[in-house]
């Protein structure tokens, strides 16, 4: 796939003005995720109450793909239960690994399907999944 497809509008938009780039008041958990090989470094903050992700935000630095992925993830998980959030992460990994490809199946990922193209760019997979791994780790610690 072409480079211009990957860096399409959604990614560029999301990365240049990520609307979830902020600390979360009363966060119940805060976890750093790092890609040692590239230096991507995000801190994900969540406020989880009664099993629901009430609010999420992040700070840190990274490439367009990792930033967009984080932002798109937060769009998706706010208001979801911990279980649902974990399931979405699993679905996202499936998409990026190229294991889940059906449009219907991926529907639940919403705008995050914009990142499907990364499944053909093995060198950038790590960037795309960083936030989601951090999410799973954070929810695991929370539980």
């Amino acid at each position: 796939m072409g480079i211009n497809d990957l860096y399409n509008q959604i990614i560029v938009e999301n990365s240049r003005s990520p609307h979830h780039r902020h600390a979360v008041g009363g966060a119940t958990i805060s976890l750093e995720g790092v890609n040692p090989s590239c230096g991507d470094d995000i801190t994900l903050q969540l406020r989880v109450k009664d099993g629901i992700v009430q609010e999420a935000g992040f700070t840190g630095e990274g490439c367009a793909i990792s930033q967009a992925s984080t932002s798109l993830m937060i769009d998706l998980i706010e208001g979801k239960t911990v279980e649902e959030a974990n399931q979405l992460a699993g679905l996202f990994f499936g998409m990026i690994k190229g294991e889940v490809t059906g449009e219907d199946e991926l529907d639940a990922l919403g705008d995050a399907v914009a990142l499907q193209g990364v499944s053909h760019m093995p060198s950038r997979v790590k960037c795309a999944v960083l936030a989601w791994h951090t999410l799973q780790d954070a929810l695991g610690e929370q539980a």
Binding site: Y7, C63, S123
Partner: protein
Amino acid sequence: MKNLLNEFPLLAVPENGKRLVYLDNGATTQRPFAVLNAVEEYYKKNNANPHRGVYDLAMRATDAHEGARAVVAGFLNAEPDEIIFTQNTSEGLNLVAYSYGLEFLKAGDEIALSVAEHHSNLVPWQRVAKATGAKLVYLYPGADGRLTKEEISAKIGPNTKVVAVAQVSNVLGLAVPIAEIVRRAHEMGAVVVLDCAQSTPHMQVDVKALDVDFAAFSGHKLYAPMGVGALYGKKELLEKMPPFLSGGDMIASVHEQSTTYAPVPRKFEAGTRNVGGEVGLAAAIQWLTALGWDEIEAHEQALMQHALAGFAKLPYITVYGDAAPQGRYGVISFNVEGVHPHDVATILDADGVAVRAGHHCAQPLMEYLGINACCRASFAVYNTIADVDQLLESVQKVRGCMGFGDQ
């Protein structure tokens, strides 16, 4: 410089109709036929375990092994028994940290190193500091990326016992004032551990003239196969150091409860050596030096100048370290405003230009520069002006691709 690309199988053949513009030579170089053939010849004709057999083939393997050591010694202007074969620079530096650092340092001592050090010349010293109570003291380059005389005098003092420094930084590409550093270090009674990973491919390194105490480099950054490198150490230092890795071949005699060790350098070479790799390293050294250092430096300087001049015309490009080509060897690190270096590298890759993006195993330097990561174009003797032109052309597509309106 004559065109060398045809001597490099990986670079000679176009891929998807495009020749690869390989500019990640600071990470590892490609190998010429001269090296690949020498290794193959070794395995086809002379392969055996050296030092372990009295039969003729084993002697040929021993000759290959010791012959390669002599070539490496000549390359650095050292004596053969001051050359220890390692798997890479990192192992050489760890050897010094373990066998010299852990043995001879104590609480209150200082280890001076540049903030630009590669992790391989930094993390081992952190561990030595932690284990011995010694203190890590950092030298910081000025705004132009160069270490000043003042900084050297300020940070290398009477408590300094080890100065660990890269001759050429793998991010800034700038040579440190090594004569100055050695003079000061020796005045203060410290030993100098020189990381030559990025200097040996680009300049003649004479350990005697430099008077450094240890020097480490990797073959794979020098057109040789992976898995082989060398550590130089002054003989009197090597002799008083305890062994590091122990096992076969590095002993004089072993009893159930005690062991005596072989003389240097074998004391430091445990287990079966990578003789095939050593033969490749010797071939690489011979291939490279046959080109002539003057020619090599002139050619690489021309590449540097052309790239730096091109970058200087692009206002959204920041080059790290003094952008003058003097004293710059093989490396240009840069960022494109508003675009993360990984995205830059991905976009360049789509054009067949391979550069590296990330922290380049120099996170403290990244912190010091106030960045998380950067791109690095690093050059080898086979790169051409056309390669640089392609880099410059592709770099100019980056911001457009990322939705910036200035393209």
